[in-house]
């Protein structure tokens, strides 16, 4: 009898929970419809859902530094109540589903049909504004290789990236290219090389590799998507020929590798499309991420 009772009680509890969420569902549909229409039921008194990237990510590092979400010793002070994700699409989906959310992503991944990028201090998040300096939230895309690396394809590929043709690809993909480059004059060597590292740099690198394949069909380049640190350590260990990082090289990495900035990427601060906020100042973003401001009407 004990078993039966136990099971019965447990089931009743879970049924109730399921039923309760079921009730939630109907009201949810209504709310969703409203937000799609005009956002008329936007309630500025609601608390802000702060979404952040994981500690140590290149994007978060650049974001906290540029917005000053740090204490006097430059330690990251992002509020502990912030949701954390390590995935750009989770970040975008969360913000697009939650009317009161705020987050930040790479400008190259921004999908304006899902979320809205806000202006920072009046400047819109565009490649031009980053280039002319009015939009300040950006970070470098680095690639690094060993100074004594003996791989003709890797060297030639690097030359290609840093050429007019390579930087054209960078610009086409919505990132900010490096200025003063020469036309590619490679010798199209035969062979293969491995490029790997940061998942933020990966989409750009993929395009670069494809463009390179057109000018040098003899070179075979393998792309590993992992993360900045794996990229750098693997380049040092030799399992990658070229490592990619979406952050600055750390000291111990810089001592063993030769880093090159191949592009600059903006960081867009995103909110839900139902959110009437279009413009935020650096200080407002800072206070949101420090946890000083917790509702939208308090900004």
């Amino acid at each position: 009898m004990r078993m039966k009772k136990f099971i019965a009680i447990l089931s009743v509890v879970s049924m109730m929970a399921v039923a309760a969420t079921g009730c939630g569902s109907s009201s949810d549909d209504a709310a969703q419809g409203g937000s799609d229409a005009s956002g008329s039921d936007w309630d500025a008194a609601s608390s802000i859902t702060v979404v952040s990237r994981e500690e140590g990510s290149g994007t978060r590092g650049a974001f906290t530094e540029l917005f000053g979400v740090v204490d006097e010793n430059d330690n990251d002070m992002t509020t502990l109540d912030a949701q954390v994700t390590n995935n750009t699409s989770v970040m975008m989906t969360t913000v697009s589903e939650n009317e009161y959310a705020i987050g930040y992503i790479s400008l190259g991944s921004l999908d304006e049909s899902l979320v809205k990028a806000v202006k920072i201090d009046g400047a819109e998040a565009t490649a031009e504004n980053i280039e002319n300096g009015s939009y300040k939230v950006s970070r470098p895309f680095n690639v690094a290789m060993k100074p004594d690396l003996d791989n003709a394809v890797a060297t030639d590929f690097m030359a290609f990236i840093m050429s007019t043709e390579g930087q054209q690809v960078v610009a086409d993909e919505g990132y900010i290219p490096v200025s003063d480059v020469q036309a590619y004059a490679g010798e199209a060597p035969e062979g293969s090389c491995v490029v790997g590292g940061s998942s933020s740099v990966s989409p750009l690198m993929e395009k670069l590799i494809e463009a390179y394949g057109e000018v040098n069909p003899n070179g075979k380049i393998e792309l590993q998507t992992s993360d900045s640190t794996t990229g750098m350590t693997s380049a040092i260990e030799g399992s990658y020929d070229i490592g990619m990082a979406s952050r600055e090289l750390k000291e111990d990495e810089a001592s063993q590798l030769e880093g090159t900035v191949i592009a600059t990427d903006g960081i867009a601060v995103i909110v839900n499309q139902a959110n009437p906020t279009d413009d935020l100042s650096v200080d407002q973003v800072k206070s949101i991420y420090l946890g000083d401001v917790t509702t939208w009407d308090a900004i």
Partner: protein, 297 residues
């Protein structure tokens, strides 16, 4: 004749060596994890590491108590949702299900096991998270809870994990129930018990060890699940008392930060893996002890 005896001996040796493989694997896993994790623990201080409530790697604060609690919360939640529904569904599959629809249903539960966790994650993010957010807001306006939460919560993760452990529980429980000799059931019916009484008082007790094995497997899957959970649980590394708040799990802590971590931070993450591993060891050992106790009965 002699060569035959030799072959027998040789093959016996081969079997023995093969059997040692799993022992070797566990030993290797232990050695490599502990060798990489223990130094970090001693650097941080074992007690500080386990009971610290602050996780700020950039400020050299490594306390994983929130993650331990988080893993316990979502696993318990998954059990509350998954186990009763799983067991009752396997009762249906084993005892009630009409023959014509059994095959497709069985195939369907197997399919549930084959869906990659990333899918569960996105499903949770797009479908369940908004539901829970509305649920929380409704409770909030009714004055039942103080903080409505934003949907990415312990409750959401529990629901999704509950779904994810269903196939594990259904599979093992159903086969355990089918393995109970049919005369148990028929005998009980003949004594005048109703069908339900016979199932729950005769068959399930007889299939107890299989049912428990299924639950344990389910617990293992829930505590170890990573990709789906990190998408829906919020990942805030802090303690909380409300199931509508987000929290971070041990597995989430590893996957989220492993990518960028260097030095002590990276070692601390491997140490998190060690803690997780020890958790699993404890669960398995206690189940083994339970089983032994049951065998002696």
């Amino acid at each position: 004749m002699k060569s035959k005896a030799w072959t027998e001996k040789f093959m016996q040796g081969v079997f023995f060596v093969a059997a040692c493989a799993s022992v070797l694997a566990v030993a290797l896993i232990c050695i490599f994890l502990f060798a990489n994790g223990i130094p970090a623990m001693s650097k941080i201080g074992f007690v500080k590491f386990i009971t610290g409530t602050q996780w700020r790697p950039n400020s050299e604060m490594f306390g994983i108590l929130p993650m331990i609690v988080g893993s316990l919360y979502v696993t318990a939640g998954a059990i509350i949702f998954g186990v009763p529904i799983g067991i009752l569904t396997s009762v249906f599959m084993a005892m009630y299900c009409p023959k014509q629809i059994y095959k497709p249903l069985k195939a369907a539960t197997e399919l549930l096991a084959g869906i990659p966790s990333v899918i569960y994650g996105f499903f949770g993010l797009v479908v369940v998270v908004p539901l829970i957010r509305e649920f929380g807001t409704a409770l909030h306006s009714a004055g039942i809870v103080k903080n409505p939460g934003n949907g990415n919560s312990i409750l959401t993760a529990s629901l999704i994990l509950g779904m994810m452990i269903l196939p594990t529980i259904i599979g093992t429980t159903e086969s355990a129930m089918r393995a109970v000799p049919s005369h148990y059931y028929e005998g009980s019916l003949a004594l005048g018990a109703t069908k339900e009484r016979s199932i729950f008082r005769v068959i399930i007790p007889a299939a107890k060890s299989g049912v428990i094995a299924g639950i344990v497997l389910g617990i293992g899957r829930a505590i170890g699940e990573t990709m789906a959970v990190i998408m829906i649980v919020g990942n805030q590394a802090r303690l909380t008392s409300s199931i509508l708040d987000g929290i971070r799990t041990l597995t989430g802590n590893i996957v989220i930060e492993m990518g960028y971590a260097t030095g002590l931070h990276r070692e601390a993450l491997i140490a998190t893996g060690v803690v997780l591993f020890v958790f699993i060891l404890i669960i398995n050992l206690s189940v083994a002890l339970l089983k032994r106790g049951a065998d002696h009965e």
